[in-house]
């Protein structure tokens, strides 16, 4: 006889890698997938446990400021913004300052086409969002300088 385990039904967020076959299947059938990203690397756009994104099938090529879901060589699934397009892509989280170059198109899985924030679904074509992408990207040097300053002041006040 098999070892008995209490029957379980859980309504929970299942890990992305656990459900990746299902996600890929949905996308291949032209369907969309909604999920809540984990982590803080896409702040302030995406707040962990609050906001969610809608993934759509991947286009033939990604463009600058696109937000793809991709798989790193180490197997981890990442949702970061394309900040440079060449033979490969360079991606970076909105809350990060170090770009990740050398990403190939075959590593890309899906593209965010809208996101839900405060109960509102915002398409990535919305003018406000497009402005945010550009402003946030080009202000990163200033933000980095500001963050270093704040950290320095905190250390001085301790």
């Amino acid at each position: 006889m098999n070892k008995y385990k209490i029957p379980a039904a859980q309504s929970r967020f299942a890990a992305l890698d656990e459900l990746m076959p299902l996600i890929r299947e949905q996308l291949e059938q032209g369907r969309k997938v909604r999920f809540s990203p984990q982590g803080v690397s896409m702040l302030p756009m995406l707040r962990q446990g609050v906001d969610s994104v809608v993934l759509s099938p991947l286009p033939e090529r990604l463009e600058k400021y696109d937000l793809p879901l991709y798989r790193r060589a180490d197997g981890r699934y990442i949702l970061h913004r394309v900040v440079k397009v060449g033979d490969t892509y360079t991606c970076m989280g909105d809350n990060q300052f170090v770009p990740e170059p050398g990403l190939e198109h075959r590593q890309m899985i899906a593209l965010v086409t809208s996101f839900c924030r405060d109960g509102r679904e915002i398409p990535v074509t919305a003018p406000g969002y497009r402005l945010y992408c550009r402003f946030w990207h080009y202000s990163r040097s200033l933000r980095r300088f500001w963050r270093r300053g704040v950290n320095f002041l905190r250390r001085c006040l301790r």
Partner: protein, 88 residues
Amino acid sequence: MKVKGNYALRQVAKTWVVMPLGQATLDLDGILTLNETGALLWKTLEQGGDREAMIRALTGEYDVSPERAGADVDRFLGKLADAGVLEE
């Protein structure tokens, strides 16, 4: 009590997932996942089985007493009802 027609059980790697059907967007947040015994009970329900059939399915497949299986089936059905995937 039976499973609503717009849900289907799918095995994805080692996880059993209750898939909502006919939706253009699959919402992974709060998706219902089952373990092996939960999947067995779901399949029994899908085939039109009642509470007694679910208890028989558990005691037939696993080393568990009918009393304990009955209590676990009730708890499992409660969770499915809370998730809104059952209908009378």
